[in-house]
């Protein structure tokens, strides 16, 4: 509890805020005419050319040191960039995970050789990453993973299976949590992270179609995949602690409050028209805004903690759980508003966006940890466990 007491309003430094103007000018052009139901996909949208363009402009890996292709900027600089990407609904899914967490993970735990090998391509928007955590028998109970990397003369021999891996079919690399010693019963002990080139023989990736008709999640099979000795990321046996630190990056970002923002803005455009404006809609607009704004302030406060080198794991879980609530309220409440009206003059594009967000909204409360897991983490932070 005491660690949460210090979540106070934080300022985005002026030099980082200054990026907003430049990136917004670019996005205004790049996103012109893109319909809302496409923008609604944002970090679920795959567009390698767009990622390379962002890389060319120096907007990927912006927090990495210049020696590895980055700009050496603070977490606030990245916050401003991704807040704009998300609010414009830019298709940033290709590089999203690499920029958000795989790159920072390699930077923190990787060897010098690994950093030089992998990070510049992330900054150029040419190398895309996915996260190998869940397995068919290991979801919320992540410490029970069974995929195993066994040391051999050539390095590590990888066997097993990952599932619910976002974007694996479009990625070049996976950083996977695997067992390198002991048995499943040893839990957090004996787990390590390895980087897997997904083009290696023995790797099979199969997309899973979700209820919206899109395919983000994948199954990934490893059948005697031979990894080099330099595939290990960080310490052998240190995988659990590394994954925990990584999840603070995964859960704290602005993508945890803006998932439904394209729908909210599209609905607002309709409600601003003379036929769309009603007192009920006005009140609902204010309700959603009053929930989103404090979350944004909390997200900025967490970013400040990241810039100070802290790992605000509990605060991030708190913001994500609360953010999910607003993100899922938006499609539910907007549907109620639109279909409580007598007149049926609602634009088709708004209905299509509502339909997409309604179908994809259940994913908000499972990706990055289910609500139950997040609340358990908060309870631990409160000293209840």
């Amino acid at each position: 509890m005491s660690q949460l007491d210090s979540l106070n309003p934080s300022a985005i430094p002026a030099q980082d805020e200054a990026l907003r103007h430049e990136v917004r000018a670019f996005l205004t052009e790049a996103m012109r005419g893109v319909p809302a139901h496409v923008r609604a996909r944002s970090w679920m949208g795959y567009d390698p050319a767009f990622s390379r363009e962002l890389g060319r402009r120096g907007w990927l890996g912006i927090t990495f040191p210049p020696a590895y292709g980055g700009a050496g900027r603070s977490a606030f600089a990245r916050y401003v960039l991704v807040e704009e990407f998300l609010n414009f609904g830019a298709p940033v899914g290709s590089h999203w995970i690499a920029d958000r967490q795989s790159g920072p993970l390699l930077l923190k735990y990787g060897t010098e050789a690994q950093k030089q090998r992998y990070l510049p391509a992330i900054c150029r928007g040419e190398a895309f990453y996915c996260i190998g955590m869940s397995e068919p028998g290991s979801g919320s109970d992540l410490a029970s993973v069974r995929t195993r990397a066994v040391p051999n003369d050539a390095g590590w021999l990888l066997n097993g299976q990952k599932i619910w891996t976002t974007n694996a079919h479009n990625c070049h690399y996976m950083i996977a949590l695997v067992r390198t010693s002991g048995e499943a019963g040893d839990r957090q002990k004996g787990l390590s992270q390895v980087i897997v080139d997904l083009s290696l023989p023995g790797v099979t990736v199969r997309p899973i179609t979700d209820q919206s008709g899109d395919s983000h999640f994948c199954e990934v099979f490893f059948d005697n995949v031979q990894l080099g000795p330099d595939a290990l990321v960080g310490d052998e046996g240190g995988g659990w602690d590394q994954v925990t630190a990584e999840l603070a990056f995964e859960r704290s970002g602005p993508e945890r409050l803006y998932s439904s923002i394209a729908l909210f803005d599209e609905w607002l455009a309709y409600v601003r028209t003379p036929q769309g404006r009603t007192p009920q809609a006005q009140r609902l607009a204010g309700k959603i805004l009053s929930q989103l704004a404090p979350l944004r302030a909390m997200s900025v406060a967490i970013t400040e903690k990241l810039t100070l080198g802290e790992s605000p794991v509990v605060e991030a879980a708190l913001v994500k759980d609360l953010g999910t609530g607003v993100e899922q309220l938006i499609p539910a409440a907007i549907a109620d508003d639109l279909f409580s009206r007598e007149a049926a003059d609602v634009p088709a594009e708004l209905l299509n966006t509502l339909n997409y967000i309604t179908q994809v909204a259940p994913s908000y409360s499972l990706r990055g940890g289910t609500r139950d897991i997040l609340r358990g983490m908060i309870a631990r932070g409160l000293g209840l466990r």
Binding site: N87, F88, P279, R283, L289, S290, L292, R296, D372, L382
Partner: protein, 333 residues
């Protein structure tokens, strides 16, 4: 600066504003000793310029003190008077001795000035009344008073001559927004008090052979309480972040709406976790949860302020709601 100030206020309230004192004052025992202790400390003049004998603090600097008014269930109008003295000082009016509360009035056909519900009026000396765009300072001594709603709140009326003869405060003053900023901060304090008391109780109370806080269902309810309490606290802090002498109306709208929503959630969960004991007068929880409901109602409930925010959002020409979100939350250090 403000932390030292808040620490001193906290020490005083810990000593002088115990749950027993709150109970006694609510039951009609004299409130003068507590008020005098607060007056003697000088905290009530926090917003008064140093040239006029005050501490010369800015609104954002007094957030912590206003939050403490909530977390200690202060049963005298400390927050109200602190804000009123700041307003009076900036308007060039010397504050009267004693406490001041804030109200909105109407001159009715019966020839009297009516204020339907004035918060903490039962323990106040003066009322700053806004009516028809003007603001006058009226004495409680000449008011007709009837307790209304929460036990410290009252309906007031005066003959119109009292309004006409009262000290006029020059300028236009938005007392509702000022009060909403106050009650948002007090709600944030009371929310934290209720949350930490409930956490403590869950660690203490044993059932089925272990503390109830060991059960996952209770842990998750406490986690949800903490989410609301911390989001509300962030919103309430932003409600007082302003460059000027008066709070920003839209930030206050966010602050009061979010804290009021949280009040309902947190009050409900805290009573659910406490079971029957939390419903008793003897147990302290009620001192804070009754205030959560009272302050949620004070100066506009969540829907009142949702309307204000919604209107601003719909009147904005910006296609991205992010613009207003940033306006509400960006701060400078």
């Amino acid at each position: 600066m403000d932390d030292l100030f808040a620490d001193a206020v906290k020490a005083l309230l810990t000593d002088q504003c115990t749950p027993a004192v709150v109970r006694a004052i609510e039951a009609g025992q004299p409130h003068a000793p507590l008020w005098q202790a607060l007056e003697d400390s000088g905290f009530v003049d926090a917003l008064v310029p140093e040239s006029a004998g005050g501490a010369g603090l800015a609104l954002a600097d007094v957030y912590a003190v206003l939050e403490l008014c909530g977390s200690f269930a202060v049963p005298v109008p400390l927050g109200e008077t602190l804000l009123a003295r700041g307003l009076l000082a900036h308007a060039g009016v010397s504050a009267p001795a004693g406490s001041v509360v804030l109200g909105t009035g109407q001159l009715a056909s019966d020839g009297r000035l009516h204020c339907t519900q004035v918060r903490c009026a039962a323990k106040a000396d003066w009322v700053l009344v806004s009516c028809g765009g003007a603001c006058h300072l009226l004495p409680m001594a000449s008011a007709h008073m009837q307790v209304a709603g929460f036990c410290l709140d009252a309906q007031l009326s005066w003959p119109q001559t009292a309004w006409d003869q009262a000290q006029q405060v020059p300028g236009a003053h938005d007392l509702v927004t000022l009060q909403a900023a106050l009650y948002a901060a007090q709600l944030a304090g009371a929310l934290m008090a209720v949350f930490s008391r409930t956490l403590h109780y869950a660690n203490d109370r044993q059932q089925f052979g272990k503390p109830i806080g060991k059960f996952q269902a209770i842990q998750h309810q406490l986690s949800v309480m903490s989410e609301h309490a911390f989001a509300a606290r962030m919103a309430a802090q932003l409600g007082l972040r302003t460059e000027g002498a008066v709070p920003d109306r839209l930030r206050v709208a966010m602050a009061k709406a979010r804290t009021s929503e949280a009040a309902l959630e947190v009050a409900g969960l805290s009573h659910s976790i406490h079971g029957a004991i939390g419903f008793t007068r003897e147990f302290d929880l009620q001192l804070y949860t009754r205030r959560l409901h009272a302050w949620r109602q004070a100066a506009g409930s969540e829907s009142y302020w949702h309307d204000v925010l919604g209107q601003a959002l719909l009147d904005s020409p910006e296609p991205l709601s992010l613009e207003l979100i940033r306006t509400l939350t960006d701060v400078v250090v």
